[in-house]
C-alpha cells in the first residue's frame, strides 16, 4: 500500500534536508549543539525516556487527541469528508506542548536547570513555562515588546506559571527579534542553559528533533483514520509559520505518494502587499536563526518584517525541511489571507462549535476549498493545531473590521 518515496526524511550528518538546514551560529554554540545532538540521540534510544515521554503525553497532556469528523462542515461544503486532528484539545491548548514536554525532559536528562524560550503569540511560551513548572526548571521567555502588548493574557499566564518574561525592544519587537535575543542569551549562558526552540527552525539538530517530538500528531492521525475509514486520506492540510504542526502531521504520510500534502502560509493583507508572512511563496533561500531555508528578505539580504493577523504565523523564516519539501515537490504550499482565516474561524465555530486558533484557521480556509473540489468519497484531514481562546480579541477586532469594510 505504501510506495517507496524518494523524499529524504532525516537530516544528513551536516544537518541538511537537501540543500537546507545546517548550523549557522556563532562558534560559541557549536559544542553545545553537538552535545545536544548526542544527548537527543541517546534519549531517543533509551526506552525509559520514551516511556516517560509517552506517560506525560497521555496523563498530562491528554493524548491521543481525538480525530473528529466535521459532519456539518462536510455537508455544507458538499465535497470530501473533513476530519479534524484535535491538537486544540491538548493541555495548554495547542500542539506546542508535545515538543516542550520532549525537550523539557531532555533538558532535565542533560542536567540543565535553566530553560529559555522565545515566543510570538505566547503559546510556545506558555507551554515552556508549563513544562518548566512541571519539571522544576527555571524558565525565561523572550517575547517582542509588541507581542507583550498584544498578548497580555499569555504574558500573565507565563508569569503565573513561574516564568520570567523578558520584553525584547530590538528590531521589529516581534518573534524574529525575540529569537535573536534568545540566541544572544544562549551564547552568554550556554554552559548551564537549555534553549527550548518552539518550531522546526534553528540550527541542526533542532528541526529534526522538534519534528520527532511532533510526529506523534501524524502518527496518531494515520492510525485513527485507518480505523475509521480503512484507508489513508486523500489530502492533509496544515498551517505553516515555522512549520512544526505541519511537519508533525506530514511526516506520517511523506512516504505515501497518493496522499496529497498542503501547507498553508499566512498571506496577511495579500501577497501583492508587503504585509504578509508567505515565506515559501514569496521568499528566497537565506540564513536566519541558524539554518538555511526560505526567508523574506530584500535584495541586500536584509530580513523583512512579516505580518499576519495570527501572531503565531508572523515570522519571516520557515523550517528548512519545508524548504526542502517544497523544492522536492512533495508538499504543495499555498496561502490564506487574514480575511480568509477570519471567515474560516466563523465557519468552523458556527458549523461545529469549535473555535480554532487563528493559525489553524489558515489551514481550515484552504481545506474547505480543497474539500469542495473533491468527491464525497474523498477524505481531507486538517491539523487543528490549537484553540482560539487566546485569539478571541484579535478575532473580534478582525471581524468588526470586515463588517466596516462591507458597509
Amino acid at each position: 500500500m505504501t510506495s517507496r518515496s524518494a523524499v529524504q526524511e532525516k537530516a544528513d550528518e551536516r544537518g541538511r534536508f537537501g540543500d537546507f538546514g545546517g548550523r549557522f551560529v556563532p562558534e560559541t554554540l557549536m559544542n553545545a549543539l553537538s552535545e545536544l545532538e548526542a544527548g537527543y540521540r541517546e534519549a531517543l534510544a533509551d526506552e525509559s525516556f520514551q516511556q516517560e515521554l509517552r506517560r506525560l503525553l497521555a496523563e498530562y497532556s491528554g493524548r491521543p487527541t481525538p480525530l473528529t469528523l466535521a459532519e456539518n462542515l462536510t455537508r455544507i461544503t458538499g465535497g470530501a469528508r473533513i476530519y479534524l486532528k484535535r491538537e486544540d484539545l491538548n493541555h495548554t491548548g495547542a500542539h506546542k506542548i508535545n515538543n516542550t514536554l520532549g525537550q523539557g525532559l531532555l533538558a532535565k536528562r542533560m542536567g540543565k536547570k535553566k530553560l529559555i524560550a522565545e515566543t510570538g503569540a505566547g503559546q510556545h511560551g506558555v507551554a515552556s513555562a508549563t513544562v518548566a513548572a512541571l519539571l522544576g526548571l527555571e524558565c525565561r521567555v523572550f517575547m517582542g515588546e509588541e507581542d507583550v502588548r498584544r498578548q497580555r493574557l499569555n504574558v500573565f499566564r507565563m508569569e503565573l506559571l513561574g516564568a520570567e518574561v523578558v520584553p525584547v525592544t530590538s528590531g521589529t519587537r516581534t518573534l524574529k527579534d525575540a529569537t535573536n535575543e534568545a540566541i544572544r542569551h544562549w551564547v552568554s549562558h550556554v554552559e548551564d542553559t537549555f534553549y527550548l526552540i518552539g518550531s522546526v527552525v534553528g540550527p541542526h539538530p533542532y528541526p529534526e528533533m522538534v519534528k520527532m517530538f511532533q510526529r506523534v500528531i501524524g502518527d496518531e492521525a494515520r492510525v485513527q483514520l485507518l480505523e475509521r475509514e480503512g484507508r489513508l486520506p486523500d489530502e492533509v492540510v496544515a498551517c505553516v509559520g515555522g512549520g512544526s504542526n505541519a511537519i508533525g502531521m506530514f511526516t506520517a504520510f511523506l512516504a505515501d505518494e497518493a496522499v496529497g500534502l498542503t501547507g498553508v502560509e499566512a498571506a496577511g493583507e495579500g501577497v501583492d502587499t508587503d504585509r504578509h508572512a508567505a515565506t515559501l511563496t514569496k521568499g528566497s533561500p537565506g540564513v536566519l536563526h541558524g539554518s538555511l531555508s526560505y526567508l523574506l528578505q530584500d535584495e541586500d539580504g536584509q530580513v523583512l518584517p512579516a505580518h499576519s493577523i495570527s501572531a503565531g504565523l508572523d515570522y519571516p523564516g520557515v523550517g528548512p525541511e519545508h524548504a526542502y519539501l517544497k523544492e522536492a515537490g512533495r508538499v504543495r504550499y499555498t496561502i490564506a489571507t487574514d480575511r480568509e482565516a477570519l471567515e474560516a474561524v466563523r465557519a468552523l465555530s458556527r458549523a461545529e462549535g469549535i473555535l480554532p486558533a487563528l493559525e489553524s484557521a489558515h489551514a481550515v480556509a484552504e481545506a474547505l476549498k480543497v474539500a469542495a473540489d473533491r468527491s464525497t468519497s474523498d477524505v481531507v484531514v486538517i491539523c487543528l493545531s490549537g484553540r482560539g481562546d487566546k485569539d478571541v480579541e484579535s478575532i473580534r477586532q478582525g471581524l468588526e473590521g470586515m463588517l466596516h469594510e462591507s458597509d
Binding site: 551536516r14 545546517g22 548550523r23 549557522f24 551560529v25 556563532p26 562558534e27 560559541t28 554554540l29 557549536m30 559544542n31 553545545a32 530590538s170 528590531g171 524574529k176 527579534d177 535573536n180 540566541i183 544572544r184 551564547v187 552568554s188 549562558h189 550556554v190 554552559e191 528566497s284 533561500p285 537565506g286 540564513v287 536566519l288 536563526h289 541558524g290 538555511l292 526567508l295 528578505q297 535584495e299 541586500d300 539580504g301 536584509q302 530580513v303
Partner: protein, 276 residues
C-alpha cells in the same frame, strides 16, 4: 602578500590593535574619515562592519549602530565602495569585511569575494559561519588571496585544532568571553590559558576580541595574543560624537577625540594637544 600577513610581520608602534567600525554610522563620509584616521594611526587592521537587520552575535551597542547605518541607507555595495575610496586615497591598512552570512549568500559567495578583492579588502569575518559551513567560501577566498578569519570561543575546546589547522594566513579571532560583542568588566575564566592554548596550536597570529574597551584590557590581552580587537567601545565613542562628527565645523575636533582614544588603547603617549 596579503596585507594582513604583512601587517603582523611589521613592527608595531604600540600594542597591536584591530578596531571595528560600523560602516555608515553616522554616515558614509565619517566612516571614510575614520578609516583614514585609523590608517594614519598605524592600526594592525580595520574591521568594517556591514550593517545587518539581525546581528545575533552583537550586543546592543553594535546593534544600534547597525540600525542607524541601515536607516542612513548603507548597503553591502556601499561598504565595498567605501573600501574602494579608501584605497584610492592611499589607505594601506588591511581591511576586513565583517558581515553576517545571509548578505554573502544573497550576493553570491564567488562574486562577493571577487567584488571584495576588487574593492581592496583583505579578508572576511563572518560570525555566524562556523567551520562546518565555511568550506566553499574559504576555498574561493583563498584562491583570490583573501583570508576568511575564523572565530574560536572559550567553549571551542577540541574544535580548536580543526579550526586552526585549516589556516594558511590571516589570524585566528579568539572570543574573549561567552556572549555577544560589548564592553565588559570581566573576561572568561582562564582567558589567558585559553589564548596561550590557541597560540600554541596555531601557525598564524592570534587576535582577541569581545568586551575589550580599556587600555588595561588591551595591555593584558596582548600579553597573550598578537592583537586586540576593539569594537563596541569605539562604536560607542562614535555614537556619542555622532552629531559633532556629522557637522563640518565640529568634525576635526571630534575626530581628534577618536584619535586620542585609539592612542590610549594602543598604549602610546597621548600628546597634550594632538592634531589640529
Amino acid at each position: 602578500m596579503n596585507r594582513i600577513d604583512h601587517a603582523f610581520q611589521r613592527e608595531s608602534r604600540g600594542h597591536r590593535l584591530i578596531p571595528f567600525i560600523t560602516a555608515g554610522d553616522p554616515n558614509k563620509e565619517t566612516t571614510l574619515d575614520l578609516i583614514r584616521l585609523l590608517d594614519a594611526e598605524g592600526v594592525t587592521a580595520i574591521e568594517l562592519g556591514v550593517p545587518y537587520s539581525d546581528p545575533l552575535a552583537d550586543g546592543p551597542v553594535i546593534q544600534a549602530a547597525s540600525d542607524r547605518a541601515l536607516a542612513g541607507g548603507m548597503t553591502l555595495a556601499g561598504v565595498l565602495e567605501l573600501a574602494r575610496e579608501a584605497r584610492q586615497d592611499g589607505v594601506q591598512t588591511p581591511l576586513i569585511l565583517f558581515t553576517y552570512y545571509n548578505p554573502v549568500l544573497r550576493w553570491g559567495p564567488a562574486s562577493l569575494v571577487k567584488a571584495a578583492f576588487d574593492a581592496g579588502f583583505d579578508g572576511f569575518i563572518i560570525p555566524d559561519l562556523p567551520l562546518e559551513e565555511s568550506g566553499e567560501l574559504d576555498r574561493i577566498a583563498q584562491e583570490a588571496g583573501l583570508h576568511l578569519i575564523p572565530l574560536v570561543a572559550p567553549t571551542s575546546r577540541e574544535r580548536i585544532r580543526a579550526i586552526v589547522s585549516t589556516r594558511r594566513g590571516g589570524f585566528i579571532y579568539c572570543v574573549s568571553s561567552l556572549g555577544t560583542t560589548g564592553m565588559r568588566r570581566e573576561f572568561a575564566d582562564g582567558i589567558e590559558s585559553f589564548l596561550d592554548e590557541v597560540r600554541r596550536q596555531s601557525t598564524v597570529p592570534v587576535a582577541v576580541g569581545f568586551g575589550i574597551s580599556h587600555p588595561d584590557h588591551v595591555k593584558r590581552m596582548t600579553e597573550h595574543a598578537d592583537a586586540a580587537v576593539v569594537g563596541s567601545a569605539l562604536v560607542k565613542r562614535v555614537e556619542s560624537l555622532g552629531e559633532r562628527l556629522k557637522q563640518s565645523e565640529s568634525r576635526p575636533q571630534a575626530l581628534d577625540e577618536v584619535r586620542r582614544f585609539i592612542r590610549e588603547l594602543s598604549g602610546r603617549d597621548v600628546p597634550a594637544t594632538s592634531g589640529k
